[in-house]
Symmetry: D2
Subunit: 351 residues, 4 copies
């Protein structure tokens, strides 16, 4: 943290500030220039609020944070080694991480009925997915829209898990539901709209299942990593970050703007695995294949893709869902990209 | 809802669609042009998802919503009459609404200690505020920042209420806390980061205290009214909408961009009262006075303003807080604007 | 400018950098902390590119600009005194500035025909406007839309000027047209889409007529002041800054988001006069009156308002234009706001 | 175009409107529902302004554009066949288009001196680039920053062209410069800041050299295609669209947000070739390789990449430039992606 003082700040004021910083347990260092004085703060500044410092004295011109505000989420925290999250599923352990094969998560936006979810599960498994997604509790813009089947939706996911051995990922909208969701799900999802629901983050961080943390629609990379930091700080080290499109000025041909540059940016900042959801990110199924390929090329560790047996009849998000046939085709098209990136199952798994 | 069919759609396909719409309880009407066919849908289309219709047939070119998706929040729902929310406080009933005097809510970002909150309460009451704000539970970007005093903070708010008779407004971050917060608070706040925490909206809509609903950082006017709709649909008709700045590309000199045009836009769309929070909206105390005046001039019903006895020592949001003296000055400056707009206590209250 | 070095930077590298900065004519000062070394740069750093410094050495962690990059546009450049731009018009000198009465500019989006422009000019003059706006050259999104009457439109503006004595302001889209436009116009406008047309800025800065510089749709406050800096650096000190709405994620009920907080922000940064265009800023005539009042309350020096005798027949921007009758009403409503702010003609003019 | 009338619109008003539309040469068709009346407009509606229609009658509820406003740029205009732009260069014809090999354009942001530009040209040619980029006229945010060498910079580009046979692409900032730039350049670039400089678009559309049209920072896909439409309408059919990052709320770790979904979106809307500039799009050289791969995977036809012999000493945009060695590595890494996409020189060129 760098504190820049205004031209003409009286020396006693600088000494007063320096003393205050020492009281806070920091090590202030003063640089006296011919025009300006700057105070460098070293020590544990991650939890400091720059604005609080600005208000310490009317002579403070600005306070500049040099260090990132996240700690446990930072790449440095793990000495530049990336995290691999190993998730046990009936079909065996699935590993998410920079050094692993790409993990594919597929399934419908909402769980609708047993026949449908089991059918989709079989199809996406056959195409190569390791996880089934499906919402039992659905965040919907309108209170009049289908809100998900709730608890009975969880039973349907369990049936699909039993039928196929796929791991299950589903969204938690209310911390009260964590225990029953955690009985069925192998990974708990926090949706974009709850990315800064800090009560939920704390509680989901206090349970042991891995967390799939979607980026908020207007969340900066830093906001997002700070949300992950809430979960990590609560004791759960297994967070997968999922980019799903940000809100921009152009929403005519895509629902959101899929920010693929988040992949290399996150890679340099954090050790956590990185997933991409091109279905929500674009909002139209025709855009999913090119963006899924691009996500792999840019270095994603995992893809989440919506698949519905009959998108036209889907109770939610039909336009962005692929049919099982289209998903088969996509998986076949993605395979050589994964291989080229050294991220195919073959390329990464030990003999 | 207007369904535009592609050029060359076969008649049987149009008939099939028309039949499907009838099954849904709608009244489809077909317009046959020389190039195109359009189907108009009348009836209860507010809960229809345009995207679901688009997927009904590959021959659908586009679906255009003509009606707003919100119902109970719409101005039409109350035959164009605006809602007045009368809130009982120890000092008497305070009324929020288009036809009432401007209601001022003031106080610190966080409740810090009894002496401080009681002092601020006395000062803002003396300056003319009717409500005291103060966070017991604080949404903070960082898990390492001060998170509020929680339950004991509520006791401090109660002490301030008893000492001054001011109404209390404070934020609910977790639905579990609603009962104890509702014991102390006269109005419950939903913060910007929870605007689409639909579980919380449903539960806060199921209790009787009025709700102060802040706009999400990236929420469109429509998203925001749909969030209000969740509360209204759950049975609570008393929602006050509060604009507090949206996130844009320029964050160098303001934290957010305060969208004052939301005032006349909301006025034309909804019957609910409209508040402005220039403190969060701008992020710097020097910008609060001009924007508070502008908010009144643009037609706001209520202002929420941060006041702290010693902003430099505030545990959160110091830079945007006014001192009590600055708040005195501001209230004196605002009075003639309120009077000019016919919104001063004198001008609007009965003898 | 503050240059923060990475932990462990070798001393010779720091000395090398320090030497390089001295070669650039700067005065580098080194602060050595227990963890980090920081180099403060004093001297003329306004034209330095922080990124260029970052690339000077792999040991540079970050470069932080402390000073604003604009000079001539900064408030400090005029020792905190604001600029008053006095524009001669047939009806007498009109003065734009913080210490002056509010100047109103009104008229149609495009100049359409002589009868119409002269009629509007008479009407807006009678209502109290000092300047007539009207586009002869029109920036239109579509090449198929009406592009303005061009040179013959200038003749119509001249006719209106002669008939009413109002000053004329009109947009320059091509630097080739400057001479003929400058013959008729008292103020030359640079439109939002040309705010970073640097060739145009240089050429318009090299002629003597005052310039009305609209903010670009995605221009930060800093981009905008740097655009003004181009004009000032080319020799023309008379620039009026006009906010006309920025592009955000919500475009459903307003065309743009009018950023009124730009008024107090600019006031603290620059000495230049500040205008607001609520017509383009909102895009709908019903929003113009509340936002015009708010603009005055927030401290604007000038308002630009679209008025058309028959908005429904306007060749461009009809929906945001007021009728002359509505403009009469608005001007009557604005007068007490201007008076309250000490900005009415009475309040500010000398005896 | 669909015109939706308000509930209760009197029949004569509808007839009046219908008549007016006929006068405009359109074919209005009326649909009468039990609640609402809708008028469908068929015929040449591309040049119609929806807002103008809204103002035709107070009974119009809304006007919905069904067709895209661009014509010549639309895919339909060429019966769904994509455009191939063949550009003659000293080394032979280079072809941009969906059915062709990927074209690589590389070089420094600014042309600095002959030795440097010729060296870079040799290096990028050796690595496989077909075009040399380099700015002689530079759009810079600050008037105090290096503005490019101008005309003498063109001579340097010519020298590099002669030395290597590479095609030349360089930016036009002022229409006055078109003739002299066109003498040297094989493709003329319109920069992001001039994307809606309509005077420049018209003049550049009136000359025969192909145009490289960068997307404006806040330009929607539609704005951008309408800018292309200006050039096409002026008679020049050879426009290459280049995405170079849009402005969003997060600018901490990338300068802009590179919108790769623009590739499949444009492919469905237009027949014009699509290029991606990951250097400007991200702003940091470390992000260029992953995003360049992603661009190919998403279907780009061309890449523009900044290469500078010594980025730390670059007069502009150093941080986003690759060294020639890094560019060699990148080209080698990109080759298998191009091959996988059927876009390598081998794969696409005839025997």
């Amino acid at each position: 943290m760098i504190v820049v003082m205004k031209v003409g700040t009286p020396t006693p004021e600088i000494d007063r500030l320096t003393g205050e910083f020492k009281d806070w347990g920091l090590e202030p260092e003063k640089i006296v220039g011919s025009y300006k004085v700057v105070i460098g703060l070293v020590g544990d500044t991650a939890s400091l609020n720059p604005e609080r410092i600005e208000e310490l004295s009317p002579w403070v011109e600005s306070v500049l944070r040099v260090e990132a505000p996240f700690k446990r989420a930072s790449r440095e925290y793990r000495q530049n080694e990336s995290t691999v999250i190993a998730v046990p599923t009936p079909n065996g352990e699935v590993r998410f991480g920079e050094t692993e094969a790409i993990v594919t998560i597929a399934g419908p936006c909402s769980v609708e009925n047993e026949a449908s979810i089991v059918e989709v599960a079989h199809r996406v498994k056959a195409a190569g997915a390791q996880f089934l997604r499906g919402g039992a509790y659905k965040p919907r813009t309108s209170p009049y829209a289908f809100q998900g089947h709730g608890e009975s939706g969880l039973d349907l996911l369990e049936a699909a898990r039993e039928a196929t051995g796929l791991g299950i990922i589903t969204e938690v909208m209310d911390s009260e539901d964590i225990p029953k969701i955690a009985e069925v799900a192998d990974i708990l999802q926090v949706g974009a709209r709850n990315m800064q629901n800090f009560s939920l983050l704390k509680k989901i961080g206090a349970q042991p299942k891995p967390v799939f943390l979607k980026r908020g629609m207007a969340a900066t990379i830093e906001d997002w990593l700070m949300a992950a930091e809430y979960i990590l700080a609560a004791g759960n080290p297994n967070v997968i970050l999922c980019e799903r499109g940000i809100r921009t000025f152009d929403r005519r041909y895509t629902r959101n703007t899929l920010d693929l540059s988040a992949i290399p940016v996150l890679r340099s900042l954090t050790h956590l695995p990185i997933a991409i959801d091109p279905s929500h990110g674009c909002g139209w199924s025709s855009l999913v294949p090119p963006m899924a390929k691009a996500a792999i090329a840019a270095g994603a560790d995992s893809l989440m893709i919506e698949v519905h047996p009959n998108p036209a009849k889907a109770l939610s998000d039909g336009p962005q869902s692929l049919t099982p046939d289209a998903f088969d085709t996509l998986m076949a098209e993605l395979a050589p990209f994964a291989e080229l990136c050294g991220r195919s199952a073959k390329a990464t798994q030990p003999v």
